[in-house]
């Protein structure tokens, strides 16, 4: 059986663990740059605050109801995520970490519901974060079971399909919208609805072969998975990433070339670190920048795809490529709001050493710079395009402390 363990309102729950006053009151966490609402406590959800809502749109609701607002504290969330994943790894040998707050586990214990509760209480006791557990034969069903465990309080946080009354399950599947399924986005939901497939039950009872013809093999598999036929096994070893993205909304609008180059150089640096950590090389880069669609009349977006002559993981080579792209697409007189780069055409790095001396020297240089930055701090070595306090950097007006990753910011007790 497959279990999906998912931390409830992950970012808010992390904030609450270190600030006990936030318990039982509405709390939200904002995205980078305090742009959108990306995590809500149940109390905030009840007020009608929606996921992904721009902060300024929710401001009235927030003020009127004294909602506590936090900027995102990714160092804290990342550390708490690692703790949860480490603990879950002790509870099952087969683990697939699916996202920052979700993990698939293979369960061999026969009393599934009981073991699900064991997982839930252990994570809450040892780490302090509330989780829900969905258990079923396939990943798609485990995801659905997890959704039910979160949504319906009668289940007490754990749903196991093989140990739940089938009539209740069918009743719930007739209620739950097909859009809640794993892999069904807004557009697909709309197309399914047009065919009269509105609920999970509708899709479960659809003809798989026919769905394959009308949509794709993925929908066919979804129908199979809903009927207990496993199509997506647990992947304990992560496949190599297909692309690496690094992008940000800016703290304030950027309308000067030097500021934009500073931001782009920093994106290149972050993306190339990710590249080297995974021992990958890239040959293609997409650079994009756009204005703020909320505050301007016209949506302006520029993008360019750049090809490097060979696979590389060198910060300098990628930076040179990015600056060349920037010269092409940067326009004077536009208030840019967001920019980013995407590295693609990735492949495993092979040893460049023997025939490519320059390549191996670049590789060593990048690694050495990474090591120095790790040892001291991130800004100790920068490219000439970067500045320490560029005005594009994150606007984070209400960030909590890095309780678990900085000696200066430890939790205090009297």
């Amino acid at each position: 059986m497959i279990a999906l363990v998912d931390v409830n309102n992950f970012y808010v729950s992390c904030e609450r663990l270190f600030n006990r006053r936030l318990e039982n009151i509405p709390v939200v966490v904002l995205s980078n740059n305090d742009g959108c609402i990306i995590s809500r406590s149940n109390e905030a959800k009840a007020l009608g605050i929606k996921m992904g809502m721009p902060f300024f749109q929710a401001q009235d609701l927030i003020k009127k109801n004294h909602v506590h607002v936090y900027s995102s504290n990714y160092p804290l969330y990342a550390d708490m995520s690692n703790r949860v994943m480490q603990l879950l790894a002790q509870l099952s040998q087969d683990q697939e970490i699916y996202s920052i707050d979700e993990s698939f586990l293979k369960i061999y214990q026969k009393k599934y519901l009981l073991y699900g509760q064991h997982i839930r209480t252990t994570v809450f006791k040892n780490i302090g974060l509330p989780v829900c557990v969905g258990i079923a034969k396939t990943k798609t069903l485990a995801k659905l079971a997890n959704y039910m465990a979160k949504k319906y309080h009668m289940f007490n946080g754990v749903v196991c399909f093989s140990e739940t009354n089938p009539e209740i399950l069918t009743k719930l599947m007739r209620e739950i919208s097909v859009g809640e399924l794993w892999g069904v986005g807004v557009r697909l939901k709309k197309r399914l609805n047009e065919l009269g497939i509105l609920t999970v039950h509708d899709l479960k009872t659809a003809n798989a072969k026919w769905m394959k013809q009308a949509f794709s093999v993925n929908i066919e598999r979804m129908v199979y998975e809903l009927n207990n036929i496993e199509c997506y096994p647990i992947e304990s070893i992560k496949p190599d990433q297909k692309q690496i993205v690094c992008s940000r909304s800016f703290g304030q609008k950027i309308n000067c070339y030097e500021d934009m180059a500073d931001a782009v150089a920093t994106f290149v640096q972050r993306a190339s670190i990710k590249l080297r950590r995974q021992q990958l090389t890239a040959r293609e880069m997409t650079l994009f920048m756009r204005n703020n669609p909320f505050s301007s009349q016209h949506r302006i977006q520029h993008a360019v795809r750049l090809k490097h002559y060979d696979y590389t993981d060198s910060n300098q080579q990628l930076l040179r490529l990015a600056i060349r792209g920037l010269e092409k697409i940067y326009h004077q007189g536009i208030d840019y709001h967001k920019a980013g780069i995407i590295l693609s055409d990735l492949r495993r790095s092979i040893n460049l050493n023997q025939d490519d001396l320059a390549g191996s020297q670049r590789h060593h240089l990048s690694n050495t710079i990474d090591a120095i930055r790790d040892k001291y701090h991130a800004n100790i070595i920068m490219s000439g395009w970067q500045s320490k306090d560029g005005k594009w950097r994150m606007k984070q007006s209400n960030k909590s402390l890095r309780f678990t990753t900085s000696w200066q910011e430890l939790l205090e007790a009297s």
Partner: protein, 194 residues
Amino acid sequence: MNSKKNQRGGVRKGAGRKKDSGLYAEATKVVRIPISRISEVKNFLLNTKKTNFSIVDFIQPSIQKPIPITLFSHKVPAGFPSPADDHAESRLDLNEYLINQAESTFFVRIKGDSMVDAGILDNDIVIVDRSKSAAINDIVLASIDGEFTVKVLTKNNKGPYLMPANKEFKPIYIEEGSQFEIWGVVTGSVRKFK
């Protein structure tokens, strides 16, 4: 006649052992050796033959690129190998001493003197393990109405309360309706002098 004779007898084409097919896979020659040393020579031939055989047939040319070895990353002194090599152990690590369950361990900075008699001073860092269950007389990190405090968990006939380790401070009783929880158990403390 000749052709008939060829059909009848003599060496037929392709008969006999194939060339280079014998024990040694090449032509052989009769030689004189002392009887007492026959086995020695046989053994020698057998052993060397084995090596030849495997070299020819089993070693594939390497298709992998050579693995680069970073030079000078370790200093290897010429001469005798260290007599301690076989007895090397990993150096002591304070994390290992102080931390039992890494993922459920948190560090907390102490502010104030309420625990000095337990050896916990202002500015010390205490190690808090959430996976442990608190017992009476344990030092715990508790939260009362949202305030974090480190005290000794104590109990009287009315129930649990928090006892400071300093006569100047009063015990903290848990009033009804107040939010109280034990966040974790304090398992150690660290202090730096310099």
